[in-house]
C-alpha cells in the first residue's frame, strides 16, 4: 500500500517536472510567453499535490521540489510578459502622436511654400482665353504694397507742391 502511494507521488513529480520545463521553454519565447501561464499553474498544482502526498508517506521529494521551483520561476517569467506587452504597447502608442507631429510639420511647410507661390489661372471659353498670373508670394505682396505706398506718397507730394 505504501509503495503505491510512493509511486503516485513520483508520477506526479515527473508530470509536474515535464510540465514546468515545457512552461519554462514557452515562457521565454515572447510570441507564446503569455500562454505559458496555463501550464505553469498546472505544474505548480501538480507539484504541490505531489509534495503533500510525499510528505504524508515520507517518500523522496527532490523531483517535486525541483518541479515546483521551475514551475514558479517559469510562471513568473510568463507573467512578466504582460509587462513586456504593456511597455511595447506604450511605445507603440507614441507612434500616432509622432505621425501627427510629422503631419503638422508638413502642413506648415506646405503653407509656407504656398505663401511664396505663383498662381496662374487660365480660363478658356468659346475660343476666348483669359490668363491671370498673380504672385501669391507674401514677400512680393509686401514689396508691392510698399511700392504702392511710396508711389502714393510721391504723387501726394507733387500735388501739394502745385
Amino acid at each position: 500500500m505504501e509503495d503505491v502511494k510512493n509511486n503516485t507521488g513520483q508520477n506526479l513529480g515527473i508530470a509536474a517536472l515535464i510540465t514546468s520545463i515545457i512552461t519554462f521553454v514557452l515562457a521565454v519565447i515572447p510570441c507564446v510567453g503569455l500562454i505559458a501561464i496555463i501550464p505553469g499553474i498546472i505544474a505548480i498544482v501538480l507539484a504541490s499535490v505531489g509534495l503533500s502526498n510525499a510528505s504524508r508517506t515520507d517518500s523522496p521529494r527532490g523531483v517535486l521540489l525541483a518541479a515546483l521551483i521551475i514551475g514558479i520561476v517559469a510562471s513568473l517569467i510568463s507573467f512578466s510578459q504582460v509587462f513586456v506587452a504593456g511597455k511595447i504597447a506604450e511605445k507603440a502608442d507614441k507612434w500616432p502622436s509622432k505621425i501627427e507631429e510629422i503631419i503638422t510639420d508638413v502642413q506648415q511647410e506646405v503653407l509656407k511654400d504656398l505663401e511664396d507661390a505663383n498662381v496662374s489661372i487660365k480660363i478658356e471659353s468659346g475660343g476666348e482665353k483669359i490668363e491671370i498670373n498673380t504672385n501669391a508670394g507674401k514677400k512680393d505682396r509686401e514689396q508691392a504694397l510698399e511700392d504702392l505706398e511710396k508711389e502714393n506718397a510721391e504723387v501726394n507730394d507733387t500735388l501739394d507742391n502745385k
Binding site: I14, I18, V25, I29, C31, S80, K87, I88
Partner: protein
C-alpha cells in the same frame, strides 16, 4: 541465439526496469514532445502560411517581437532552406539547434543511463548542467528582450 531486444542490442543489464526509472520516463516524454514539435513544423508549410499559433505580442501591440517568424524559420530549416530561415528569424537556427541537441541528448543519455546504471547521479547532474547551458546560449536574446522591457 539471443533475441533481438533493446536490452540485448545495447547490452543493458536486465535489472533495469523502465517503469521504475523517472529519468528514463522523463527522457522518453521529452523525446516524444520534440518529435511532435518537428512534426508540427513539418506539416505546416511557410508557403501556405497556415500556422495555427500566431504571435500574441503582435496581436496586442501591433509591433513584431523578437521571436516572430520562428515557426517559419523552423519549417524552413527542416526543409533544408537555411538561408531563407535566417530571413524569417535571425535566432531561429540557434533555437532549432537547442531542440535538435535535446533530441540527441535525450537518446544518448538514456542509452548511457541504461548501459551504466552505477553512474546515474553523475549523468543526471551532467545532463542538468549541460542542458541549462545550451538553453541559456540558445535563448539568450529572448531573455535579453524580456528583461529589457520588464
Amino acid at each position: 541465439m539471443t533475441p533481438w531486444t533493446i536490452s540485448n542490442i545495447f547490452n543493458i543489464p536486465s535489472q533495469v526496469r523502465l517503469k521504475s526509472e523517472p529519468y528514463l520516463v522523463f527522457n522518453i516524454v521529452f523525446t516524444g514532445i520534440i518529435l511532435l514539435m518537428m512534426l508540427y513544423f513539418g506539416i505546416f508549410s511557410p508557403e501556405k502560411d497556415n500556422y495555427p499559433i500566431t504571435c500574441l505580442h503582435q496581436k496586442l501591440t501591433g509591433e513584431p517581437c523578437v521571436s516572430c517568424g520562428l515557426s517559419h524559420s523552423f519549417s524552413l530549416i527542416l526543409r533544408g532552406r537555411v538561408a531563407e530561415a535566417y530571413n524569417w528569424n535571425i535566432y531561429g537556427m540557434r533555437v532549432f539547434l537547442f531542440f535538435a541537441s535535446q533530441l540527441f541528448l535525450r537518446i544518448v543519455f538514456s542509452l548511457i543511463y541504461l548501459r551504466y546504471p552505477g553512474t546515474s547521479k553523475q549523468l543526471i547532474i551532467l545532463d542538468i548542467i549541460g542542458s541549462s547551458v545550451i538553453f541559456l546560449i540558445s535563448f539568450w536574446h529572448f531573455f535579453a528582450y524580456i528583461f529589457k522591457f520588464s
